[in-house]
Amino acid sequence: MPLAIALTTPSAIPLEVDAVTLQAVRDLKPDAVRGILIQRGNRQAPLGDFFDVSGSAADDTLVWQGDLSRVKWIGARHSGGRVLVEGNCGMHLGSEMTGGEIEVRGNVADWAGAELHGGRIRIRGNAGHLVGSAYRGARRGMTGGEIIIDGHVGNEIGHAMRRGLIAIAGAAGDFLGVSMIAGSILTFGEVGIRHGAGMKRGTIGLLGARDPELLPTFREACECQPVFLNLVAARLESLGFEPAGMLRNRRVRRYCGDLLELGKGEIFAAA
């Protein structure tokens, strides 16, 4: 039975649980986990004041339960094993994670997978702004790994992203891949505006959007059928990502940009 941490006493002041990594609790008994100090606003308090703890993480699985929308930093710096969130989840999910897997069966607030370095985050619901982004001031966002989202997302997804894959089944806001350095962002729903502003390299796929508005610093290059989309499709299908089939033998209009920067990036729009 995995280690289960269930929210019993919700707090209007956000709780920050970055101290509760799978690595830290793997060998702990429930009582010891309850004693871990977490941050509540500007004070520290034992986890047990807010959560009930049962089971053991010896099988490398940690389950968070309840409405965790005010619980921040779940799975931050996660490095291996599986974290399952059964409910909504607060900001900074899987921040700076390096490996392993996080799955959320609910909606997630902003900064999910910010500066992700490896591993996979699967969000079954919606996510907020700045998924896979660089924290403010930093030079690089996500540098590896996968973020797969079955719902909708907000703005600035993959800000300054350097490597890895973000796939979004639903709608996305503005500034997809802003200042992107490299990597891939694929969207399958409607999108906002100003995608790829300042991007140097990388791929942004706007595969479900009708006549997306592009910046004037992107130039239409050609219509084509990139072979690698079939490979991505195979990977996403293996993960049970529903719209993956839209990538199979897909013809797209390719735009290159941002011509104010290096201009080696590409945006695929539906052909």
Binding site: Y135, R136, G137, A138, R139
Partner: protein
């Protein structure tokens, strides 16, 4: 007032000719006093310094620790703040952040913990003086002062061009009074104004400054002359033109000559000692030997080094075009400011890499300067904090200067082509503890005209650092055993021991040092007329009210 005695320490007090003598120091009312003649006098507290090394508190004569540019840099580096060590709130400390640009309180604690008891911010636009005083008031324990930027000041250039030395003298003296400043500073004289006007720069001492009909040479000479006439404690503090550019050593030599025998302090001279073609990084090399030869034979000159240390830091400068140049070279984010009639500013994050030939040469050129200056009394240690690295690197620099084997070990990893481009590998000199005491406290205090700092004779401020002896020199200087500031023991066993409210309220701690030279009031109407035609604020609101100076002390002009 209670009496403190530091007993049996091995004292290094070069100004008083004391080189490693075991003796007692007696302290009362914040000052060092002669040893009592009556044998039965007992101190209220005695620190047993048997086997320990005792020196005056360190004096950092060139750093950037307060004011709008420092604050802009703090705001600009959240990515660094996020991972840097934090200072937590305790009975002795306010909370704060560190990294290359620590917050105000943290700056005071870090300097104190390092055994430094005085530090001088080297580049303050006069109009920002009020802000600096406010930040200084929140920078506890250490004494502080700042230099006001005048090298691109419109009124200065106007009076130099008009050959009005009396007006120039009155203006500089009034400006120091109005701001509560300690000294005058030239940053890329004339060049910043050219950049602000046209995007260009002053490439030589004789380039014209658009619209002002003056040259950098005239600005250097006339301000240096005026500072000498005013008998200010510190000479004019000069950041030469062409900082950081290959081939800039001729500009530096020209600047030394332009002083025409007047006192002049050449700051962060490491950045100004490069050979090679301006547009060709591959020819970059050291020209320290040539510059040091001129420097050694001209006693009117002093310098601080501006040592570069490897790692990530933040470059901040009043040299606007330099900030833009660094932004172009490194492609990192950039902040630029234009301060009315007075100055410019540029801020860029920067990383010095030991794999880079240019950066390794910059590192070596700094060390060459320490090792090629004959008279340590004319050279001060600095990293131009945070431009070349943090002041927290001083212990490492000390270790490099005292141990040539340590330098050799570094040189073995130097990139290809290094050895042909500088003389560091040939320099065997090793600093003694006494010479370290000179370049880190006695010499900067003397250059600044601070008679009560940098030494341990009777009457001196009781700013004292006590080190445990350690074969690891860097370690020894990183964590002093005791630090005494203004007669109070502020660090013990490497820990801050002064309650927060004392650190802020004790008038012997955290003072402002400034100058208040006399000036000719008859020149004021002309200054006011110019001011009111140009500035964004009212003339009467410009001078800093004395209430902003908090605990302060006027350093007298030289006799």
């Amino acid at each position: 007032m209670s009496m403190l005695k530091i007993a049996n320490g091995t004292v290094h007090d070069p100004r008083n000719g004391v080189d490693g003598v075991v003796m007692d120091l007696w302290i009362r009312d914040g000052r060092i006093i002669p040893a009592p003649v009556e044998p039965d006098v007992r101190a209220d507290r005695t620190i047993d310094a048997q086997g320990m090394v005792v020196m005056p508190g360190g004096v950092d004569m060139h750093c950037h620790i307060a004011g709008p540019k420092v604050n802009a840099a703090r705001k600009m580096r959240p990515e660094e703040k996020r991972t840097a060590r934090v200072v937590r709130r305790t009975a002795n400390t306010r909370s704060g952040t560190t990294g290359s640009v620590p917050s105000t309180f943290a700056t005071g604690y870090l300097y104190t913990g390092l055994g430094y008891t005085a530090a001088f911010d080297a580049a303050v636009p006069p109009i920002a003086a009020r802000h600096v005083h406010e930040e200084f008031d929140d920078t506890p324990i250490i004494d502080k002062g700042f230099y006001v930027l005048v090298g691109n000041n419109h009124y200065v250039m106007k009076q130099v061009a008009a050959n009005e030395p009396d007006r120039l003298r009155a203006y500089l003296a009034w400006l120091l009074n109005a701001t509560g400043g300690f000294a005058t500073k030239l940053v890329n004289p004339g060049g910043v104004e050219v950049w602000k006007t046209s995007g260009g720069n002053a490439k030589s001492l004789d380039d014209p400054v658009d619209h002002f009909n003056v040259s950098p040479r005239q600005i250097v000479r006339e301000v240096a002359r005026t500072v000498d006439e005013l008998r200010l404690p510190h000479s004019v503090h000069i950041h030469c033109n062409n900082l950081g550019l290959p081939g800039n050593w001729t500009t530096t030599l020209d600047t030394m000559r332009a002083l025409e025998g007047h006192r002049g302090h050449l700051t962060h001279i490491q950045f100004h000692s490069y050979g090679g073609g301006v547009d060709d990084q591959s020819t970059f090399c050291s020209r320290v030997p040539e510059l040091a030869e001129y420097f050694n034979s001209h006693p009117n000159l002093t310098l601080d080094v501006g040592q570069v240390m490897f790692g990530d830091t933040t470059s901040m400068t009043g040299d606007g075009p330099l900030g833009y140049y660094l932004h172009q070279v490194f492609g990192r984010k950039w902040f630029n400011a234009d301060t009315e009639m007075e100055a410019g500013c540029g801020i860029v994050p920067i990383e010095y890499k030991d794999k880079s030939l240019v950066h390794t040469l910059q590192w070596a050129i700094g060390l060459e300067w320490y090792l090629l200056v004959n008279d340590p009394w004319r050279a001060a240690m600095s990293t131009d904090h945070p431009n070349g690295g943090s002041f927290l690197a001083y212990p490492e620099i000390i270790a490099l200067l005292m141990d040539r084997e340590r330098r050799r070990a570094m040189l073995e990893r130097a990139p290809k082509g290094f050895r042909e481009r500088c003389t560091l590998a040939d320099l065997d000199r090793e600093y003694t503890l006494n010479e370290i005491a000179i370049i880190t406290r006695a010499a900067p205090a003397r250059m600044l005209g601070l008679d009560r700092k940098g030494h341990l004779g009777p009457g001196a401020d009781a700013d004292i650092t006590v080190y445990d002896r350690n074969a690891d020199i860097q370690r020894m200087f990183e964590i002093p055993r005791y630090v005494v500031k203004g007669g109070r023991v502020v660090v013990e066993n490497g820990e801050l021991r002064i309650p927060d409210e004392d650190a802020l309220e004790d008038p012997g701690l955290g003072r402002l040092l400034h100058v208040a030279p006399d000036y000719d009031a008859e020149c004021m109407p002309d200054i006011q007329k110019w001011f009111e035609a140009s500035y964004s604020i009212q003339f009467r609101n410009y001078p800093v009210d004395p209430s902003y100076l908090h605990h302060h002390e006027i350093v007298p002009v030289r006799s």
